[in-house]
Amino acid sequence: MYSAHTESGISFDLALHSGLNGPDGDIRQSRQHSAEAVAQTFAYTARLKYTGIAGLELAASVQLQEDMSQGDTTPGNAGAATLVEAHGIYSIGAIKLTALYAQWDINFDGGSNPADKQNGGYLEASYRINDKTGVFARQNNWSTTDSVDKAQANVGVNYWVHEDVVFKADIQSQNEDAGNADGFNLGLGYQF
């Protein structure tokens, strides 16, 4: 990986790494474990980011997967794929706003496939009440196959027991396409 930045707040990163392994185009299931990754083909990622204004981050990334089937030439398999992503984050005082959008374009052997275009994004707003507590709300929308539009909303609270450790709790609501999995989540975050 290579990273550099300019004095005006523009930075970029270039990475060469192992790719996905998922002939059916299921992005999530295509992720590999680094040490066990099949590396018949690679992936390349480039990111451009701007942080030259206090509290603002604007970034865009492109990732190219050489072959999502890692050399498996079975007819109908996913082949080369491209991911484009863009996001913006703006923090002012105790308020933080985030917006992100990403889209996959996957070439399937033999022509079109319901999963050849996948996209999604989210909008999030958070408020840090004090050193210990914060709240957030997030709206997620994503589509992994044609004519299926999934949506989920989350509202939650964070509690920092230590500056590096946070307890998280949120409730979620999904639409029918996403599975109507309404409920709550509990989590623990630790940064090191």
Partner: protein, 193 residues
């Protein structure tokens, strides 16, 4: 094919020659960008500490003094940083109620060397002098450090003003904030009337 990385790189080299014009063009563009004037690495010595001190006193710095972190000072500094400071002996320069400190605190893994000027109990300026990590370098920018101007301490050695953070530089921001608090606290202790 064996599937190992070496064989894969050699066998897949023709990929660069013809299979992805879009990414090849992007890679070339970004590679040129690397060599454009102004492209720098995150790590670096932005200003030598001796030069910072000299500049702070218009090239005529006073004799330095030493403050020992022991007893109450040691406990209070530990409270500010969340851990004991790496040195028990801290050098500083003081003239006309204006003190200059060169302090270090770890961001994520490496120490960030920071110069701090305190004037009559308020921060006059903060400057990142040496940055040793690959992420979080944005703390060197004036848009971040200018927030500390005229900041002072309130109860519990906290800053009297909210400092806006930097996305992706949380730990570097936290380190600089802690050093600001530490410098203000030590200034209060050494610049007694």
């Amino acid at each position: 094919m064996t599937g190992n990385i070496r064989d894969t790189v050699l066998l897949q080299y023709p990929f660069f020659l013809g299979q992805s014009r879009m990414f090849k063009n992007l890679l070339i563009t970004l590679t040129l960008f690397v060599f454009l004037p102004g492209a720098v690495q995150a790590r670096g010595v932005y200003q030598h500490p001796d030069e910072f001190v000299s500049q702070a006193f218009a090239q005529h710095p006073p004799e330095s003094h030493i403050v020992w972190l022991k007893d109450e000072l040691q406990q209070d500094v530990k409270h500010i940083l969340g851990h004991a400071y790496r040195n028990r002996r801290i050098r500083y320069w003081l003239k006309d109620h204006r003190s200059v400190w060169v302090l270090e605190e770890i961001g994520k893994k490496q120490p960030i060397t920071t110069g701090i000027i305190v004037n009559h109990g308020k921060i006059e300026s903060i400057k990142v002098l040496v940055f040793r990590e690959t992420r979080g370098w944005e703390v060197k920018y004036p848009f971040f450090t200018d927030q500390f101007k005229n900041v002072s301490l309130v109860r519990d050695q906290r800053l009297d003003k909210t400092i806006d953070g930097i996305s992706g530089a949380t730990m570097s921001v936290r380190a600089v904030k802690k050093l600001a608090r530490m410098a203000l606290y030590l200034d209060h202790k050494v610049d007694q009337p």
